[in-house]
Each structure stands twice: as structure tokens, then as C-alpha cells.
């Protein structure tokens, strides 16, 4: 539904987006994940024609955005919830959008109800809105025209935990009804619970893509199992692991073993070793994300302890 092809955007000598290509499928939520300044927002801005591309193309439903006669009816966009006139009321902001798209005023009330903004809140001016309220209003604005495609930049920013769950359910439901969703975030846990597919971007380039499982499989441990284990009798445990032919390296009070937790547990059982700890030691998605984007991070990422180089997509 959204097709990005060899998209590049440069600012003087700086390349904000570097030859990025990806597709967002209908009925799926695509998460666009990367640290601040990785090029997520620029990519999204090019998609909707606010920023011209230096090279490459973006089509939405087979059309360039500017060729959509009434784009609000097909593509819902939320790039920056704060980008509204501080002196307008929430209701007025939606009314302007509804009128531009040619929608009845009743649609404004429907959307306000859907994002749980009360009448009193809707008649407040934007400058008195909290960030969470702005995000809800922005979501309402994006959904006004009942679009097939949603493009949302950091929509969960400023939402409280209940709001984040609400957003997640909303987007899942929207995709389940056949909608196409592209949402960006710099926070993994916002994305991993809702996205069917993730696109990791760092310093303007896509560094990995896929669903959670395939990302983990291609990640730090290359999908190999890893278990952290310790026992009352450390030497007995070492002996047991050695006899089973597992490769164990000391770590903390125990060992890191290149085997599944089940295999390690079975070895301990057979050798009657009392375990005090047994857990999956594979790198989580968070480690993976930090690792994949580590050379593109502003801060050196101390959490990325694995020195394996990332799987470049």
C-alpha cells in the first residue's frame, strides 16, 4: 500500500535518508523504529509531500501523494501533534479539517468521542492542552476522513500507559479491518507489541527489518540458544555441562551456555545438580535494536554488550 523506493533526502552535505526502500502492507501495522534523528520523520514527511525527495519515489496505493485529489479521505497523517494553532480550540481544528475534506460537522463529534475528548476539553484552546490530549486530537484529525492508510509519527509520545494501550488497540483494530498503518517510534516497547513488522533505521539507512521472531533469529546470537545457569555446586554443574558437550563460559556466579534452557535443565537433572538459576540468556529485542543502531546512536550504547556486528539488511 505504501511503497518507498530508493528514497534519499540530503541537506547540503548531510544525508538524512539514504536509499531507503520498504513496503507497508494493508492489514498490517508496520513499525518504524530508530533513534532520534535516524531519518524516520524525514521519510514520513517525504511520503506526504511536505518535503521534496532528493532521489527516489514514494507511492501510496499506487499514487504519488500529490496526485490524490482529496488526500485526507485516503491517508490519515499525524506528524506532529503540537503543530496546530495555539489559539484554536480542539473542536475548531477538527472542523477545519472536516470542512476541507467535505465531511459533515457530525464527523467531528464522532471523532472527539472516539478519542475520548470531552466537550469541555474540545472547546479548550490548544495552548491549554497536555501533550497526551494533543496526541488524541492528532489521532482524531488523522482518522477524520476514514482513510485506508495511517501515517503516524511518534503517536504514543506523551500518552499515559492507559493511553498507550488505547492507541495500541485502536491501531490493531484498524489494521484488522484492512487498514495500512505505518507508525514510528524511538521506543521499542511501544512498537513491538503492536507491529506485525518492524523496520529498523539508523543514520538514514535501514539496518534490519522483519517480524519480532525473524529479527531475533537474525540478531546478536544469530538465533542460537543461550542460557544463563548457576548451581549450588558450581564445579558439579561445570562437569555436567562438559559431559553433555555444551560449551559453557563462566558468567557471574554461574555460566552462559550455548544451549536451550530445557537442554541445560535436563543435563542438571541427569547429573543431580541443584540449580539456583536457570533462564534464557538470548539477547532481547531491545539489545538487538540498540546493537543494530549502535553505530548510529548519539550515545555509545552501554547495554549492547554483544560485540557481534549487526545483520545488515
Amino acid at each position: 500500500m505504501i511503497e518507498v523506493n530508493g528514497l534519499t533526502r540530503t541537506y547540503g552535505g548531510f544525508t538524512a535518508v539514504d536509499d531507503v526502500s520498504f513496503t507497508c502492507e494493508p492489514g498490517r501495522v508496520t513499525g518504524f523504529l530508530g533513534p532520534n534523528g535516524a531519518g524516520k520523520t524525514t521519510t514520513m514527511r517525504v511520503m506526504v509531500g511536505l518535503t521534496p525527495a532528493t532521489r527516489g519515489t514514494v507511492t501510496i496505493g499506487g499514487h504519488a501523494y500529490r496526485d490524490l485529489p482529496n488526500p485526507g479521505r485516503h491517508v490519515g497523517v499525524l506528524l506532529d501533534a503540537s503543530a496546530q494553532h495555539a489559539g484554536r480550540t480542539g473542536r475548531e481544528i477538527l472542523s477545519l479539517g472536516a470542512r476541507t475534506m467535505g465531511l459533515p460537522d457530525g464527523r467531528v463529534d464522532e471523532m472527539l468521542a472516539m478519542v475520548s475528548l470531552s466537550d469541555a476539553e474540545a472547546s479548550r484552546r490548544m495552548r491549554n492542552y497536555s501533550l497526551g490530549m494533543k496526541q488524541r486530537l492528532g489521532i482524531a484529525h488523522a482518522l477524520l476522513g476514514d482513510p485506508e492508510v495511517l501515517i503516524l509519527d511518534e503517536p504514543a509520545n506523551g500518552l499515559d500507559p492507559a493511553g498507550i494501550r488505547w492507541m495500541r488497540d485502536l491501531l490493531r483494530g484498524y489494521a484488522a479491518r484492512g487498514g495500512t498503518v505505518l507508525l514510528s517510534s524511538h521506543l521499542l516497547n511501544e512498537v513491538e507489541l503492536v507491529a506485525d513488522e518492524m523496520i529498523l533505521i539508523g543514520r538514514g539507512r535501514i539496518v534490519a527489518r522483519g517480524d519480532k521472531q525473524s529479527l531475533l533469529a537474525g540478531g546478536a546470537d544469530g538465533g542460537r540458544a543461550s542460557t544463563v545457569v548457576s548451581a549450588l555446586d558450581r564445579d558439579a554443574l561445570a562437569e555436567a555441562l562438559h559431559q553433555q558437550g555444551y560449551d559453557a563460559t563462566p558468567e557471574g556466579s554461574g555460566f552462559r551456555v550455548a544451549a536451550s534452557t530445557a537442554d541445560v535443565g535436563r543435563a542438571a537433572l541427569e547429573h543431580l545438580v541443584v540449580l539456583t538459576e536457570l533462564r534464557n540468556g538470548s539477547a532481547g529485542l531491545e539489545d538487538l535494536v540498540l546493537e543494530l543502531t549502535s553505530d548510529t546512536q548519539r550515545e555509545a550504547a552501554p547495554a549492547a554488550t554483544h560485540d557481534t556486528t549487526g545483520a545488515a539488511a
Binding site: 494493508p26 499514487h63 500529490r66 482529496n70 477545519l96 467535505g102 513491538e192
Partner: protein, 273 residues
């Protein structure tokens, strides 16, 4: 909530393209209506408009009681209210354009209508529409002023001719469009308003000073300074000669056509931030 992320949805093939064959472009009239609404739906916009009308009222009111009798005819009254409008209408227009950038509403405006020249056209139409309404109110207030002048011992003189109306509208239109051009070029409310006042106050003053100091500059000024060139339109017999029209055309190209074209080009190319 569970952490399951891959709840399979319907496997029926979904359309991968958007059918736009039935779509109507956003009608221009609707864009104009929305842009007009934007001039009033904030306190700043509403009060600016109300203040402008109030100021006209005040100035004409002062005129009725304080102007010398020979300046209480309709053309003079209209000139006074036109002067006030001429300074403040362009500010209204400037705000229509620059607020899309300074308030960042352009993000929504230009995603809902990505054909930016249409939005600009709608803003011009909305601004001119507002301008005409405010001018009409100004003319009505001036008429009341003239009708009231006998209160002060004067005589109501209705001396309005076609030339006066035409020139009054033309100079107002020029002022509004210059404001528009500056707004598109600078895309910042404060900078555009300052630039407009430099154009409308300081440039004619500089031209006047140079005319006084430099021999022969009075011949050059009407060819390079737009306000000076427009002077025949609202002084004397309100009639510009062929040469004076040529001066208006030349200075109009320098101060209006070129900045306007450049501003529009920049605005279409600009990133909307």
C-alpha cells in the same frame, strides 16, 4: 495484555491500490471558505479584524468633529478610512500566510491539499473577500461621517466619482498583494509585518528625503519607488496620466510582481516544517 504480536487477520487478498477514479478534488470554494474561517477562529485574528474596523470608526469620528470644514467631504473621509485600512489589511493577509509556518498549521493544511498554489489562491481570495467587506464597512463609516459633518457646522459633500472608487480599490489591492508577497517570501509574521512597514513608511520617506537633497531625484523616484508612483492615484484630481501609469507599472513590477512570483516559487518549493 498479552505480548502476542502476530494475531493472524483475514487472509483474503486486500486491495493494494487506492481507487481515486470517483474522487473529486477539494473544490476551490471550500478552500476559500476554510481560509476565511481561519482568519476569525482565533482570538488574535478576530480582534485584529475588530480593531481595524474600530480604528476606522474612531478616525472618522475624530474627522467629523476635528477636521477643518473643507476636509469633511466624502473623498477626504474615505481617504482617511482607506489610509487606516491600507495599513492594517495587509497585516491580516500576512497573518493568513505566515501563521501556517509560525503556528505550524501548514503541516495539516498542506497535507490536506498538497497542491500549494491552490491553497495560496484560496488565501488570496479569502483575504480579498475580507478586504472588500472591511472596505465596504470603511466606506459606510465614512458616509456616516460625512452625513454627520453638519453637526460641526460643515456641509455634507458627496463628491465621490468613478476615479476615486477605482483608485481607492486599486491602491488597497496593491497594498494587500505586497503584504502577501512579503509573507510568502519571509514566512514569519514579525519579519513580514516589519518589512511591510519598512516598504510602506520608510521607503517613501527615504525617497522624499533624497528628492529634497539630490538634484533630479524627483524625476527618478516615481520610476523606482512604488508608493511614490502611486501618489497620483490618491492626490490632486485622482487621475493618473499615461506616464504615471507607466511608472506604476514599472515600480509595480519591481515591488509587487517580482517579489510575488519569487515568494510563490519559494513557498511551493519550501519544506513545510
Amino acid at each position: 495484555m498479552s505480548t502476542a504480536t502476530t494475531t493472524p487477520t483475514s487472509t483474503a487478498p486486500r486491495p493494494r491500490t487506492i481507487d481515486i477514479s470517483q474522487d473529486e478534488p477539494v473544490p476551490f470554494g471550500r478552500l476559500v471558505a476554510v481560509e476565511t474561517r481561519k482568519a476569525f477562529d482565533t482570538r488574535a485574528g478576530r480582534w485584529l479584524t475588530i480593531s481595524i474596523v474600530g480604528l476606522v470608526l474612531l478616525v472618522v469620528g475624530v474627522g467629523v468633529f476635528a477636521f477643518p470644514e473643507d476636509a469633511q467631504d466624502y473623498v477626504d473621509m474615505l481617504g482617511v478610512s482607506g489610509g487606516v485600512l491600507g495599513y492594517f489589511l495587509p497585516i491580516l493577509m500576512i497573518m493568513l500566510v505566515t501563521s501556517e509556518w509560525t503556528q505550524r498549521t501548514g503541516l495539516a493544511t498542506f497535507t490536506l491539499e498538497p497542491r500549494r498554489p491552490r491553497v495560496i489562491g484560496a488565501k488570496i481570495a479569502a483575504g480579498l473577500g475580507l478586504g472588500v467587506v472591511v472596505l465596504a464597512i470603511g466606506a459606510a463609516i465614512a458616509a456616516v461621517g460625512v452625513a454627520l459633518s453638519p453637526v460641526n457646522g460643515g456641509e455634507a459633500v458627496w463628491n465621490l466619482g468613478v476615479n476615486e472608487v477605482q483608485n481607492f480599490l486599486l491602491t488597497s489591492l496593491i497594498g494587500v498583494l505586497v503584504g502577501f508577497a512579503l509573507a510568502m517570501l519571509l514566512r514569519n509574521s514579525a519579519a513580514a509585518i516589519v518589512a511591510y512597514f519598512v516598504y510602506t513608511f520608510i521607503l517613501p520617506a527615504v525617497a522624499g528625503t533624497l528628492e529634497a537633497l539630490v538634484d533630479g531625484f524627483d524625476k527618478v523616484a516615481p520610476w523606482v519607488e512604488f508608493n511614490t508612483a502611486q501618489t497620483p492615484l490618491f492626490t490632486g484630481d485622482y487621475h493618473a496620466t499615461g506616464e504615471e501609469w507607466a511608472q506604476i507599472a514599472v515600480t509595480g513590477t519591481i515591488w509587487l510582481v517580482i517579489p510575488f512570483a519569487l515568494g510563490l516559487w519559494r513557498l511551493v518549493k519550501a519544506e513545510v516544517k
